[in-house]
Every structure is written in structure tokens, then in C-alpha cells.
């Protein structure tokens, strides 16, 4: 098992390294201007050297993402439980949930900026729209996947709905819930960045737009690198929490 993991990690790192080497050499051999495509070494250097500039923007974006996640958890979890407890509600709400995902966030972003202003509110809201769906849908699916035999057992014990929820359904649904949360935190960065592109005064999206306008392409890539690191960090954090919570797996 351990050697399998080592093999997988080595392959993944090998692919990434090949990509970076080809990029670096290609850009230098073809003499591509830095404002078109900077080499990875320049990007890495900028990401480090310009860290004091990038850091406050990254912090703003991270705050928007974390608030979006918290808001999504605070709304998606109760909604999924309500829908589970009341199938009629599920039938009524599902079309709206699906519709919320069918509307492109880009189309809504300018309106949300008008409604919620240039501050963090509009970005948090966009992140919430994106994260809400995977959390609600996976949690509902997890709750519904509980085996009939266990439901029968709890009915025979005379357990109330809340007892069943606490002791049976919620732990049962946790693996699926965490899968949804992992997807949610990864795509949450997209929501925050879209909001910042449309209208903001701070954040990595704002930094990208500003740097792009000044042809500071290496700073655009450095911001993307920070954003990727943030997304990856959140993904790893959720994985860590999942491992701590779901001890029985």
C-alpha cells in the first residue's frame, strides 16, 4: 500500500517536473517575450519576491472563500436535512437547485456586484452559489443512501427522527458530505476570483486584472500560483478533517 502511494506520488511529480522543464526550455529556446509567457523560474521568483504585495490580496480572497464555505455549510446542511426529512420539499426545491447551477456565475456576477457592492459581500455570495450545490446534493444523497435494515433497526428501537439523524443518518452520510465539501472548497476559488474580476478593490482577482493591464504577466501567474496553493491547501485541510472525523474508515 505504502509503496503504491510512493509510486503514484513519484509519477505525479515526474509529470509535473516534465511539464515545467518543457515550459522553461520552450520559452527560452523560442525566445518568447516575458509579457506573453514568462518561464516558470520567473514566476516562482516573482511569487516569492513579491510575496509582501501578493499576501494582503491573497488574505482577502482567502477570507471570501472561507466565508463562502461557512455560509454554504450553514445553509446547505440544514436544507439537505429538511429535504431528507420531507421528500415533498425535496421535489419542490430540486428544480431550483439545478437551475442555480445552470445559470453561469459570470452572468450573475455583475448584478451581484451592483446589489452587494464592491466589498467582500458580492464575492462571498458568488462563492456561496458555487459551493452550496455540491454540499447540499452530496449530503442529501448520503442521507438517503442509509441501508433499509439499519433504518428498520432504529425504528424498532423507537428512535425519534433526531435520534436517527444524530446516531445513524449523519455519520452514514459523512463520507459523501466530505466528498462534496472537497469539490466545494476547490471550486470556491473560482467564485471569489470571478467576483473580484467584475468589481473589487482587493484580492487576487483584482491583482490579476491590474497586473494584466500593466503587462506584468509574471505577477498574473504568481497570483495564480498563490491561488492554486490556497485551493490545494483547503483541499488538504478538508481531507485532514475528514480523516479525523471518519475514524472508522
Amino acid at each position: 500500500m505504502g509503496s503504491d502511494r510512493f509510486k503514484t506520488n513519484t509519477i505525479a511529480m515526474g509529470i509535473a517536473l516534465c511539464f515545467i522543464v518543457i515550459w522553461e526550455m520552450g520559452v527560452k529556446l523560442m525566445d518568447v517575450p516575458v509579457f506573453i509567457l514568462p518561464p516558470p523560474s520567473d514566476i516562482a521568483l516573482t511569487a516569492l519576491v513579491k510575496a509582501p504585495v501578493i499576501w494582503p490580496h491573497a488574505l482577502t480572497t482567502l477570507a471570501e472563500i472561507v466565508m463562502g464555505i461557512c455560509l454554504a455549510l450553514a445553509t446547505a446542511v440544514p436544507l439537505a436535512i429538511f429535504m431528507f426529512a420531507n421528500p415533498g420539499l425535496e421535489r419542490g426545491v430540486t428544480p431550483f437547485l439545478v437551475a442555480s447551477q445552470a445559470v453561469p456565475v459570470f452572468a450573475l456576477a455583475p448584478l451581484l456586484v451592483v446589489w452587494f457592492g464592491y466589498g467582500m459581500g458580492s464575492k462571498v455570495f458568488i462563492a456561496w452559489i458555487i459551493i452550496f450545490f455540491p454540499i447540499a446534493v452530496t449530503l442529501l444523497s448520503g442521507l438517503k443512501s442509509c441501508d433499509r435494515e439499519f433504518r428498520v433497526l432504529f425504528s424498532l428501537m423507537g428512535a425519534s427522527f433526531f435520534q436517527k439523524l444524530r446516531l445513524l443518518y449523519w455519520p452514514w452520510a459523512l463520507p459523501e458530505f466530505f466528498s462534496g465539501l472537497r469539490v466545494g472548497v476547490t471550486v470556491a476559488t473560482i467564485g471569489a476570483i470571478i467576483g473580484e474580476w467584475v468589481g473589487s478593490q482587493k484580492g487576487l482577482g483584482y491583482l490579476m486584472i491590474q497586473s494584466n493591464a500593466r503587462l506584468q504577466t509574471e505577477l498574473v501567474f504568481a497570483a495564480i500560483l498563490w491561488l492554486t496553493a490556497m485551493g490545494l491547501g483547503l483541499w488538504i485541510l478538508v481531507g485532514y478533517i475528514e480523516k479525523k472525523v471518519i475514524r472508522w474508515k
Binding site: 423507537g158 425519534s160 475514524r247 472508522w248
Partner: protein, 272 residues
């Protein structure tokens, strides 16, 4: 005392049982033996209120009831232990759920005593994934006893276990019955198991299910299976099933067309 009179259940045009009648005396260990798929579990679903019977009367201690949910503990074939709880936490579930919650300290003491009786003394803090199938089933039995009901319904609780573990659990079941004076109604498709455990053994037909013969072994417990009396009952039971051409299977699948009894009393199913 439990009485089931004229119970009926159908699924569409398929009649599972149409006029099923059964009587279980207090403190009795009654075993229903019948082919797999004959409707034994459906009967238990009806008794426990999991699925409503089409008609029929269920009487417990002279009182007519819609189901036995509040009077019987039910143990199924699978151990149904929750993997996120330890064995002790699993066994305490009947005590901490429902309207009539038991005193937690007393319940824990009772569970600890049952763990001791079942040979699980040092495994209270283990998770189900950390113990063997037999131990999980014993824990499920502790949980069933923690319901603190006078009647225990056992739906093939040992059929997924290996022969040695089954023997161990047979002894435990008999010990429980004698120690706690429980009334037990068990279903199985294993006639040997029925003969070892049952005070009374009801032989069931299938399609529709009904009691075709009742046996009362005289040998005292614990019984050895190879006594002349039990061998005689086994042969008679198999003969009875053969005469009805409803042998599906004492020990296997239920399709009379695919199964037959050999001269030495064995069962051949699907040519195997």
C-alpha cells in the same frame, strides 16, 4: 404468550401466506424451519410492524396488537453494528433511544455483565471492524437483549457464520434462554440448528407458507445432533417436505424444480 391467527400477506398476485397461525408459549424457544424465500422474514416484518400484514390477528399476553414493535426485540441475519460506535456503544443503542430511555449507568452495567457472559469482556472499546464476525454477532445479541423485551425474534441470526462459531452461539442462545427465561421465536432454514435449539420446531411449507408439522424433541438441552430421536425427526421432516414436493431447501435456495432429496437425506440443488 404470543398468538398469530389467520395472518395473510400478498405481494400483488403472489400470496406469501394466507391463513398463517402460530402460538408461542412463555419461555419457549420456538423455531420455524422452512425453505429460503418461503416468507419467514416477511412474517417477522409483519410481526414487528416493518410491513403491515394484509389481515390477521396478533395477540400478546391476551392483548390484541397491530404489531409487536414495543414488545419484541428483533435480531437479523446481519449484525447491523454501526462502524462509528464501539461494541459497547452499539449495545447501548436500545437503551439511549426511544421514548422510554433507560438509566444510562444501569444500562452500561447490564451491558457490561452481558459482555462478560458472551465472552466479550475485554472488547467493549473495540470497533466492529476490529473484531471477528462471531464477536460482532455476539455483540448484536447483547444489543438485542438490551431492548429488555420478553420476546426475542431471531431471523436467521447465525446463517452467515462458520460452523464453529455457530456452535458457540448455539450454546450462548441456550444459556440466555435458561438464564433470562426469554421467549424466543427463531427462523432458520437449517434443520440441524432447529433441532439443537428448539423446544418446538415448526416445519413450514412455501407458496403459501404454512405450518405443515410440529415436532417437540424430548431430549434435554444441550442436545447432541446424533441422538436417535433427532435423527428420526430429521428424517421425518425431510420425508414430509419431500411428500409435499416443497423442498427448497433446508439449507439453500427455494425452487422445487431445481432441488431434490437423495436417498441418504442430503439435498441436491441445481445439480450440485
Amino acid at each position: 404468550m404470543l398468538e398469530v391467527i389467520g395472518a395473510a400477506k400478498s405481494f400483488g398476485s403472489r400470496t406469501i401466506f394466507s391463513n398463517f397461525t402460530l402460538k408461542v408459549e412463555p419461555g419457549e424457544f420456538k423455531v420455524l424451519v422452512g425453505p429460503s424465500g418461503c416468507g419467514k422474514s416477511t412474517l417477522f416484518d409483519g410481526l414487528t410492524g416493518v410491513a403491515a400484514l394484509d389481515r390477521g390477528q396478533i395477540t400478546w399476553k391476551g392483548k390484541e396488537l397491530a404489531h409487536l414493535r414495543n414488545h419484541a426485540a428483533y435480531m437479523q441475519q446481519k449484525d447491523l453494528l454501526l462502524p462509528w460506535f464501539t461494541l459497547m456503544e452499539n449495545s447501548l443503542l436500545p437503551a439511549i433511544t426511544g421514548r422510554k430511555k433507560q438509566d444510562k449507568t444501569l444500562a452500561r452495567q447490564r451491558a457490561a455483565s452481558l459482555f462478560h457472559s458472551m465472552g466479550l469482556k475485554d472488547f467493549e472499546a473495540h470497533y466492529p471492524a476490529q473484531v471477528s464476525g462471531g464477536m460482532r454477532q455476539r455483540c448484536a445479541l447483547v444489543r438485542t437483549l438490551m431492548f429488555e423485551r420478553e420476546l426475542i425474534l431471531l431471523d436467521e441470526p447465525l446463517s452467515a457464520l462458520d460452523a464453529i462459531t455457530r456452535r458457540e452461539l448455539h450454546s450462548l442462545l441456550l444459556m440466555l434462554q435458561s438464564e433470562f427465561n426469554q421467549t424466543i421465536l427463531m427462523i432458520t432454514h437449517d434443520i440441524e440448528e432447529a433441532l439443537i435449539l428448539g423446544d418446538r420446531i415448526c416445519l413450514l411449507s412455501s407458496c403459501p407458507m404454512g405450518v405443515i408439522e410440529e415436532f417437540t424433541p424430548k431430549s434435554p438441552q444441550p442436545r447432541a445432533f446424533d441422538t436417535p430421536e433427532l435423527i428420526d425427526i430429521r428424517v421425518r421432516a425431510l420425508d414430509r417436505l419431500r411428500s409435499l414436493n416443497s423442498i427448497g431447501p433446508i439449507g439453500a435456495t427455494c425452487n422445487p424444480k431445481n432441488s431434490k432429496i437423495t436417498d441418504d437425506g442430503g439435498v441436491i440443488i441445481n445439480g450440485i
